[in-house]
Symmetry: D2
Subunit: 262 residues, 4 copies
């Protein structure tokens, strides 16, 4: 599914960010994702959104991690996969992404991105969880069947094997809980969650450990594409929320803040 | 109403934190709050909770802002009022308070505390708003009449004059919206909001600009005391959420994290 | 703004339901809405959604209130305005609308529709409120700026005069709170609320007493059109939630219920 | 933790309602619950709340199902278990219970009570789900660890065998999601949910098919007792939400409704 909106003319501009380290270091990951996980994720989005989107990729080792001001300004929705090198993402870039999210850029955080600097900063919590890497089968159940992100997704969506993530997942109560997963070991996880922060929309989706071919899965790709389409804002201008003074009876023209003391 | 709890025996231990700068710098504030705003807030809590609580105060100019590890470990609920000197709160103390909140300490944030380092860090947003200091009358309406924080609160609660705060208030959608205010100028504000972060409960309550006698108001004091009582956790141990590995079939004994690469 | 979706081909089919009694009985209403309020509401939707929608109207005095099984089956989103004659809506039609909503038909409830049989049945509450008909100015503030229903809506949206509705509004906490209103008398109201029930999406929007020209207001029309676009489901088939038995390991083929006793 | 309350003095008055049919008709149920399921549930509440509560029982075959106006007026929290005979509960009693819930009586709905007249009326949805009676192991995971209802509950709570309930559970998005269950067959279920309706607080808790000894389980009893304690309102008077007219500037004294036409 994709949205066409009046004002948001043109295709949805997506930037797929990938850490791209496991693929270089670990042969078993490189075999699954020879062009990098980011490339596979990007292909899955393009496969679903077609001409409705324009997808590019960026990785940790690019200058400024590929996330310059110019790139972000031209990105409607950013997707994020990171794991082994969260700490190597420089704070300046995190601040830049944060500012763009609050200003209206959509963000789709995948799997181990739960512990990225940008996600924990937006959540305000530890984003910790329980986990196990033991080839669990994951069943993803839809608990919000009218949500656009659930559109066209099997109930349940079955992933033959992937890493396990279990509760308690230390996130704020999501604005919308779309999916809940169970694992063959018996754990459960709130695996599809939406959050709104500032003028930005955020979707977290659980599947996708690097050691499994999860991003080749047709239905997983559909969910990610749905999430990307949903996260695009309808607002025509990107603007950061701002603190302004408004005189009595003046509702539209605020004044700049000049400090706490008279 | 009371809850059966394991062992939350003893009085509720409250620490009222006050920036305490306006009271020293501005005579008109000192006249309203001769012993400091924090003292008045503390008195209001004690007035309502009586023997059920033990209240102390701490201020910015105390060593470590009065918020040592020992003080926080002995605090069930911390209240926070700051305004002119948010930037002077050192990051180390903010991190300490943050860690205690995620571990189970309750937090009640008052008025201009919306822009404090600790609140914005827990929210993950800019916490900006519109404002005006022009003696607006504030009417605080209860939209969640069964919430414990609304217990015994007039509908509406009338504050003859205070600063105006208006929407858009850039916070995450609150877990529970308890109060909504209108101002004589026509603005509205989500003025009583709860949030859960980690193992901690947070209540934000709007009223209380330093230039008005708001914390002497009987009903405002009642709300703050209700909020303090609500924010106390039922959990008997303070513990930070943690990321652990659990073997298949082992649900209670997790293993420490040893890094992302094998 | 409007959504185009992959599967939901063709224009959005809207049925605007109007009680159409005040317009016949009260001359001052007839002057404002000479063709009936439903016609004006329908025109406002068409004005905003253009070729993207096909709008028809139905009223209380039509056979079966104009809401036959065939009409509802061909309706993506139903809008509802009623007031003086809620009790005259026959239960059979209410049940039929209810079933279609749970099966996926969108519903936009306007103003005094808060006390309609269909809305109270979907809410499970009394839907009572406080009110006054005294030419209050209403200011509608957006508290969820990324919501599609808020797209292109002024902040605040100003209605020079309308009836007042105030809290406590006895509804379940909305899934999404989009708008909050203040009135010149000082009351506040959660004036734009979304709810999901079964496979259906519901939007309640407050303005529109029959004695005021509210549905001629450009921005009010925009909100209603946005709400209609939002309430359209992405699901391709209309289906009622059903209770089924699933054998172990069989996730997709449920069995019919055969009763509580063996 | 305790709340300062106006005057909710005295023990929490609980009425445990049981359908009490399976116990009479099916020998295998009678063996597990020789005094009826309601008696076992009542004992579990008393075991946890001790002197803090006064528990009585009522059943379907009592005159007026044991739920006279007098009984409900003297009940702080009602618990509900029904299954085979939902249809035999007369509408007049359902209306009476409904009115008391909206007026402030707490309600704890257990297991197959999901399809009771009172629960579906309060939810406004079909409350359908998927199910299987095949001795699944249920694991109940806490996703809201600061919620009073989760206090002292193991994570996970393990039930060796019970009926399976799976998603999609057609309820409104709960105000608070406290527990999520998985079953050995792989299904998940939102098994602990709170809802506020009018002045009443509602808790739904999943476990407890009649063919299993679930209500003898120590931790299940703890959850039910926690839910009962939570559902008690803080409001001192039972009052139904009411629609009233308020003159401009008059916030506390509303006038009765006199009809929609002048």
């Amino acid at each position: 599914m994709f949205y066409m909106t009046n004002g948001a003319a043109g295709p949805l501009r997506v930037t797929v960010w990938g850490e791209n380290r496991h693929e270089q270091i670990e042969e078993h990951v490189a075999r699954i994702y020879p062009k990098g996980m980011h490339t596979t994720i990007a292909e899955g989005i393009a496969e679903n959104l077609g001409d409705g989107c324009a997808v590019r990729t960026a990785t940790l080792d690019d200058p400024e991690h590929g996330l310059t001001e110019e790139v972000l300004a031209g990105t409607d929705v950013l997707t994020w996969w990171g794991h082994a090198a969260h700490d190597e993402v420089v704070d300046e870039v995190v601040e830049r992404v944060y500012r763009h999210v609050l200003s209206g850029m959509g963000l789709v955080v995948l799997h181990s991105g739960h512990w990225s600097k940008i996600f924990t900063k937006l959540m305000g919590t530890s984003c910790t969880l329980r986990w196990r890497d033991a080839h669990d089968r994951e069943l993803i159940w839809t608990v919000d069947p009218t949500h656009p992100i659930a559109n066209g997704v099997p109930h349940p969506l079955i992933i033959e094997e992937d890493e396990m993530y279990g509760e308690f997942f230390d996130i704020p109560a999501p604005d919308e809980l779309v999916f809940v997963s169970s694992f063959s070991g018996g754990e459960v996880f709130r695996s599809g969650c939406t959050f709104r922060r500032g003028h930005g929309k955020i979707f977290y989706f659980r599947p996708g450990d690097q050691a499994y071919p999860t991003y080749h899965h047709r239905d997983v790709r559909r969910v990610i594409a749905n999430g990307v389409a949903w996260a695009r804002t309808d607002r025509t201008e990107r603007s950061h929320p701002v603190l302004l003074r408004y005189e009595t009876g003046e509702f539209f023209q605020g004044q700049g803040y000049t400090g706490p003391l008279q």
